[in-house]
């Protein structure tokens, strides 16, 4: 079966109209971003950054740690979302590439490479590996891609166990924490994470709102038909793999600094599942969703702490309820409210995208992932 028959086979369930609506919706969002509100948004972003910068001065180190963890997961989710949400490929080697970043950085630092340099280095190495993984994998469809990348990702993590002489094997290895002069390790790590997170969000936002993002979506939504527009589908899919791998590894380097001790069992399904949850809750294919998703996943666990032995079941149930009620993720709730009559009245402005039916607007970018499979 070729890709094209697959697309045609599953398209009728939602219809090409939904795909078109999705593209229009996103194009609308992009236009809106380019309009006069840009200045206001920039100021909001700067204020937010300044406030975040001040956190370690006032909060205790537990809160700083939780915030750091949220930001690291948010960075990683930006990469995962790029792959799953924007390019529509359910590639599940993300936890392994994240692990690669963590181990790559920790090992390099042990051999005298300055930590800050290991961030881009690990990123590039993981990007290369992701492309190598992606090269055979991008030809696979839907769940086959998911299973193949899942298997390969788990095999990579298993390799970390076998590489005992350099990784410490299953028992794990210590990470030397990089510190700014005169500042505690936790605060130094937080500042680095904050800077990297800001850069990641800024750059990805620029890329995705521009031509690159739209082409990526077109490749996702139209599949091989994009070829007629003069775009190489496989190339774009590979680029998405590489970029998401780069970001995963960057997040991984920061994670190792945060944990100060790493071992392979950290990077199994118990990491991949929350990663998927973060993408989903944030809304696959949304821009700020990764931050919402990461905050949800980290904070909810802290809140459930007081439930004792019932927290595991609470976590599963909350996840199921969110999926059942909001198949487009938490951010689709904001969009639905904003585009509803009530939300419009509240904000005293026109709906961002005049697509008939609010439900269509909310769901379209997500459903589009299905068309590709």
């Amino acid at each position: 079966m070729s890709d094209s028959t697959e697309v045609l086979a599953s398209a009728p369930t939602t219809g090409p109209a939904a795909v078109a609506a999705g593209i229009r919706a996103n194009a609308g969002a992009a236009d809106e971003g380019g309009r006069g509100s840009g200045l206001r948004k920039g100021i909001v972003a700067i204020v937010a950054l300044v406030v975040l910068f001040a956190v370690p001065f006032v909060a205790n180190s537990y809160l700083v740690f939780v915030l750091s963890l949220t930001l690291v997961y948010a960075i990683s989710t930006v990469g995962f979302n790029l792959l799953v949400g924007w390019s529509g490929q359910i590639g599940l080697a993300h936890a392994a590439l994240f692990a690669l970043g963590a181990y790559g950085s920790a090992i390099s630092v042990q051999h005298g490479v300055p930590f800050l340099i290991t961030i881009p280095l690990a990123g590039v190495a993981a990007a290369l590996l992701a492309v190598i993984i992606g090269f055979p994998a991008v030809r696979l469809k839907g769940f086959f891609l998911a299973i193949a990348t899942l298997a390969l990702g788990m095999a990579i993590v298993e390799l970390l166990v076998f590489a005992r002489p350099i990784t410490g094997g299953g028992a794990g290895m210590n990470v030397d924490v990089w510190t700014l002069p005169g500042i505690t390790g936790s605060a130094s790590t937080y500042f680095v994470i904050l800077v990297v997170a800001a850069l990641t969000f800024f750059l990805t936002r620029r890329a995705l709102l521009g031509r690159f993002g739209r082409t990526l979506q077109a490749v996702r939504d139209l599949g091989p038909l994009t070829g007629s527009l003069g775009v190489s589908v496989l190339r774009y899919r590979l680029v998405a793999f590489g970029l998401s791998g780069f970001i995963a590894a960057v997040a991984g380097t920061l994670y190792s600094q945060l944990q100060t001790f790493i071992f392979p069992a950290m990077f199994h399904m118990n990491l991949l599942v929350p990663m998927l949850v973060m993408v989903f809750v944030g809304g696959a294919g949304s821009l700020w969703g990764p931050l919402v998703g990461a905050a949800f996943a980290v904070v909810i666990i802290e809140f459930f702490q007081d439930l004792g032995d019932q927290q595991a079941i609470a976590y599963g149930l909350v996840l199921m309820v969110v999926i059942a009620l909001l198949p487009g993720g938490l951010t689709s709730l904001f969009r639905t409210v904003r585009d509803s009559r009530f939300g419009t009245a509240l904000l005293r402005r026109k709906p961002a995208t005049p697509v008939p039916g609010t439900e269509g607007t909310a769901a379209a970018p997500e459903t589009a992932a299905k068309e590709d499979a």
Binding site: R40, V47, A54, F57, Y62, L63, L69, G185, F261, A312
Partner: protein, 402 residues
């Protein structure tokens, strides 16, 4: 007009920076002050992170029960020198990053005086640097390797020490061929340490099979097949409860009759967590003892058992429960000995002075911490118990490896 929020934020931040610089400055660590957190004239707060849910929940629930039984008993008796004990127990679900998060929460948010009897063995090393920054003592973590760090005190024989005692025992019983099944994580590393240390001391004994199984997998049959084929006299296991029970069953199914040993955590010595599921295959099984759960004529153990029965908590009568119960009691004894000076400096001084005047509880080997580098492994002795006729009996009293 657009600038207003920015200016406001900048002003606020400047004000905050001026008032609260201490939080990030590494020169004046918050724990270095004279009065440590979590202790007042009438209360002392301690904390622990335990795997109450997740794959290690069996042990986590037992560890939790032990802490609670001890705290209830201490408070009923008026607390530690008039200070009531407030124990904050967090669940880490056996996931490493939550262990790290929980320890930070206990220290920075809940402001505990000390971390007492935490589990989460594999994630725990991720907290060493943080504890050093805050100088918060960690008293009696369950079975990590000794980090040789000022804040951390190990109160029971490590897995490696238990395995070493077992190897000596095998040699004493005339075993010539030893087989090992270990997990590819810190459990396996401990077993390897013990083998490296003890095998040269027993030239008559050789390792005939050395199998490694994957963490979290219950697929052990090919390891068992290989071990049985090597015809060993004795088998040393470094696995979790479930895998240990499975291996026992399969060894029996293949007609193996030699000696089999697992450490306290894996064997659930004194309790049913391994021998229960293993059923009749557990007959003759040897378990390491960090704590004496077994003797019925030991008054300290009988006292705990009564309290545990009364509490009715899940896993309260397991070996894990006696362990944390004893650790909390030892902690209370230590704080009592510290007198009026509750500073962390005095905590360390008093603890390291135990070498000359050990804490003797009767239920666990005497606690005799000394100065670093090796003194914070406060107990080296381990015992061995045998499961015969449906109950655990002491096979070999507490002793240190040769």
């Amino acid at each position: 007009m657009m600038r207003k929020p920015l200016l406001f934020a900048a002003a606020a931040v400047t004000a905050l920076l001026a008032t609260a610089c201490g939080n990030v400055s590494s020169s004046s660590g918050s724990g270095g002050g004279e009065t440590p957190p979590g202790i007042t004239a009438d209360q002392i707060t301690i904390g622990a992170t335990l795997p109450i849910t997740g794959t290690a929940a069996v042990s986590g629930q037992g560890l939790q029960a032990g802490i609670q039984i001890a705290v209830d008993e201490i408070n009923a008796g008026g607390g530690i020198g008039g200070r009531k004990v407030n124990a904050i127990i967090l669940d880490d679900g056996f996931t490493p990053d939550r262990v790290v998060t929980n320890v930070r929460r206990l220290v920075s948010q809940e402001k505990v005086y000390a971390i007492v009897a935490p589990a989460g063995s594999q994630g725990l090393p991720g907290t060493w640097q943080f504890l050093a920054e805050n100088k918060t003592p960690m008293w009696g973590p369950i079975s990590p390797a000794d980090p040789k760090q000022a804040e951390v005190y190990l109160l029971s024989a490590t897995r490696a020490a238990q395995d070493a005692v077992a190897i000596d025992y095998f040699a004493k019983k005339g075993a010539k061929r030893l087989a090992v099944i270990k997990q590819d994580n810190d459990l396996g590393v401990s077993a390897k340490q013990a083998l490296d240390a003890q095998m040269p001391k027993h030239p008559d004994m050789q390792v005939v099979a050395d199998e490694t199984t994957a963490t979290g997998s219950t697929e052990v049959s090919s390891a068992v097949n290989k071990v049985v084929a090597a015809q060993p006299d004795a088998v040393l296991l470094a696995e979790d409860n479930t895998s240990t029970a499975l291996i026992l069953k399969q060894l029996l199914a293949q007609g193996f009759t030699g000696m089999v040993f697992a450490d306290q955590g894996a064997g659930g010595t004194g309790g049913p967590s391994t021998v229960g599921p293993a059923g009749e295959a557990a007959e003759g099984f040897l378990g390491g003892m960090q704590a004496d759960t077994v003797s019925t004529n030991n008054p300290a153990v009988e006292h705990w058992r009564e309290l545990a029965k009364k509490s009715g908590k899940p896993q309260a009568e397991s070996g894990f429960s006696l362990q944390t119960y004893s650790f909390v009691q030892a902690f209370a004894e230590l704080v009592k000995r510290m007198g009026d000076d509750v500073s962390y400096a005095n905590f360390q001084k008093t603890a390291e002075g135990l070498k000359s005047e050990p804490i003797k509880l009767g239920s666990i080997p005497d606690i005799e911490c000394g100065p670093l580098p090796d003194g914070h492994t406060c107990a080296r002795q381990a015992g061995i118990a045998k499961y015969t006729g449906g109950k655990w009996v002491v096979e070999q009293e507490f002793m240190a490896p040769i």
